[in-house]
Amino acid sequence: MGASSEEKQRPRHADPPKSTLDRRSFIGALGLAGIGVATRATSAAAQTPGVAEVGVLVDTTKCAGCRMCEVACAQANGLPMPDHSPEALAQERTMSETQRTVVNRYETDKGTVSVKKQCMHCVQPACASACLTRAMLKTHEGPVVWRGNKCMGCRFCMVSCPFNVPKFEYHSANPKIEKCTLCWERLNEGQEPACVANCPMKALTFGKRTDLLREARKRIVENPDRYIDHIYGEQEVGGTSWMYLSAVPFEQLRFRTDLGTEAYPTLTKNFLYAVPVVLTLVPGFLLAVSNATKRGDESSEGET
């Protein structure tokens, strides 16, 4: 466990843990965190993303599939208890507007493997760059959070997310976007995320992303028979705060391995760069053409 076990007790490194935090100052803190935050692809790249951020390393070889994390998540976030009936567990479950994390069992080459899935908290999140009100926000510390006082419910984050994480309350007149926040409120109180704190198998490790990567590499090097040489989330979509170790190729755990290593916001970067170019060059050009083609007998006035 090395470096990361030290981090466990003190998840926030920059600031001392805040114990009392009412809602207003929480939102205020979010606002402060938002200043200069890497929602823009360009600024994110300039800040060498992923260095100061926290994340979680999931060792799928340790997960027993007990689903305690699901229960802990529901309790911590005031959501209904997950349905663990045999009928519900018979098929692959997905996250929903009432369940921010799910554990599924997959039949693989090396037997049954259980995998917990939730928001990956991308280093450069598509959802945050898609959000036109900055309701979806990548905090300095790493978690991607949703702010109800900004969101207009357009669901563009859902269209953009490569992992299909954000969920929408379709049956509410005041709908919210539901997704894992990496227990942002608990982090601010100096606690670990609820799922990490309640994992009996120690399959989840919370810490600084860079430390987690070091720890993951160490495990792969020390146990070459136990793990494949791939940390899911190290490179995928430009890196994610949640990362996974596995004994079998990630396709067998129903991870998307075709997403590439390019951060999603760069997909729209070229288009957005074209905007100021069009707005500055085209008007002058049009005006020139209009003048050049004007007939002599026309009045200077426009006319419809």
Binding site: R40, V159, S160, P175, T293, E303
Partner: protein, 434 residues
């Protein structure tokens, strides 16, 4: 803006104000028969939609739509907004031709096209509000500190808003003529070129921007439709989508509003349609060429022999290549009716293309596919009906299809084949119709 800005003498301002109010009240009343076939169909549709929308706003989007966690955007975005805005592309293309290139031939149809564009934006982009989960925050990207400048949707939202204003400015001389505001008409007329230039820039950006919305849906859209060039494809296709709509709409208006149409407009109609057909054929050829480049670049030839591949070929061959050839045929043979058929086919092609990108090829491999409920279709129909109502109201009152009043024509250098139609406060017209 009402009484004070009337260009009359200041002494009789109260009397003028009363006259003006009386005029507005009279104009607000419906003209002609109430029980027309269109009214008989559209009134129940709109009434039913009002009930459905009440349910939608009290019980949530899921109560009347089939939207899901897999398909966050359905018919209201894919058809109303994405397709509707492409159809409204005629306004920026025609204003470019008439005000920038000064091709006078198309002048008679500029106003009606701009009006159609403006109403399309108001109603179809306005339909976006129905789809927002938290519409009371719609103002957030406009005021305050919630500018998501890295978002394509932020750009599209702002451009919609600004473009509506530009189009309103472009159309405003018609309103001034209707109200008889001569001095204001002069000022508004002088703003047209600026509004046109601004409008064209905004259109280039948001027509392509609607395609750029799907850039981050990489891996969710079928590879035959996903491409980094979606924005360019959307922009180029909006040109012939818009012009096809102008041809289609013109052929209907010609019948329905025959009594309103100016003599000049009537004479030139066929010539205009064939000219537009020429532009359509040209841009469709460019579009097909771009599609071919994208297809070769994408290296997905193997996917053509799958069901989605056949569907792709149907869209490209049946609804782009075929209407393109028909447009060429129409121009060569001078047959307006062929151009109309081509326009309808190319409009269907645009519907197909936009729905493919936004719904059909979107998560094409999902276990449960999105199919709109009858209620989503119903609300969409109501939006279209409401737009036609407003269009009809305006066309019946303002000089849109008809000539501008004499006091405008007298000043301008525009050739005019018809006699004086004084329309100060529309009184003459009222007599004529009564």
């Amino acid at each position: 803006m009402t009484t004070a800005s009337l260009p009359s003498n200041k002494i009789d301002i109260v009397g003028e104000g009363k006259n003006f109010l009386r005029f507005i009240l009279r104009e607000l009343k419906p003209k002609g028969k109430l029980l027309t076939p269109f009214n008989a169909i559209s009134i129940p549709i709109i009434a039913l939609a009002a009930i459905l929308l009440f349910i939608r706003f009290t019980k949530g989007l899921g109560s009347i739509t089939n939207l899901s966690q897999e398909y966050p955007w359905g018919l209201w975005i894919g058809f109303d907004v994405i397709t509707g805005v492409a159809f409204a592309g005629g306004a920026y293309v025609l204003t470019f031709i008439v005000y920038i290139l000064h091709v006078e031939k198309y002048h008679p149809i500029v106003r009606v096209t701009v009006l159609n564009g403006l109403l399309a934006y108001i109603f179809y982009a306005g339909a976006l509000l129905l789809d927002l989960g938290r519409p009371w925050h719609v103002i957030n990207p406009v005021i305050g500190n919630s500018f998501g400048v890295s978002s394509v949707l932020f750009l599209v939202a702002w451009h919609f808003m600004l473009y509506m204003m530009a189009e309103f400015l472009e159309f405003s001389p018609a309103i001034a003529e209707w109200l008889g505001w001569r001095r204001i008409r002069k000022v508004l007329g002088s703003l047209t070129l600026g509004a046109v230039i601004f409008g064209i820039c905004l259109s280039i950006l948001h027509q392509s921007g609607l395609g750029a919305l799907y850039l981050m849906a990489k891996g969710k859209i079928h590879p035959l439709w996903y491409s980094e060039f979606i924005p360019i494809l959307f922009l180029v296709s909006s040109i012939f989508a818009g012009l096809s709509m102008v041809i289609f709409e013109g052929s209907i208006s010609r019948k329905v509003f025959k009594y309103k149409m100016s003599h000049e407009h009537h004479i030139k109609h066929d010539d205009i349609v064939l000219g537009l057909a020429k532009i359509c054929a040209g841009t469709m050829f460019i579009y097909l060429f771009l599609k071919l480049l994208v297809f070769v670049h994408g290296q997905h030839a193997d996917l053509l022999m799958t069901p989605m591949g056949y569907w792709y070929l149907l869209e490209i061959v049946g609804f782009v290549a075929v209407p393109c050839i028909l447009f060429v045929h129409a121009v060569r043979s001078g047959k307006v009716s062929v151009a109309r058929v081509a326009a309808i086919l190319s409009l269907l092609g645009i519907v197909l293309n936009r729905l493919n990108v936004s719904i059909i090829a979107f998560k094409w491999d999902a276990a449960v596919r999105y199919v709109p409920t009858w209620m989503e279709v119903e609300v969409t129909l109501a939006v279209i009906c409401a737009e036609i109502w407003v269009f009809r109201w305006i066309v019946n009152r303002m000089p849109v299809l008809s000539e501008s009043p004499a006091w405008v024509l007298g000043r301008a250098s525009r050739p005019s084949g018809i006699t004086d139609i004084s329309r100060r406060h529309g009184i003459d017209r009222l007599k004529k119709e009564a």
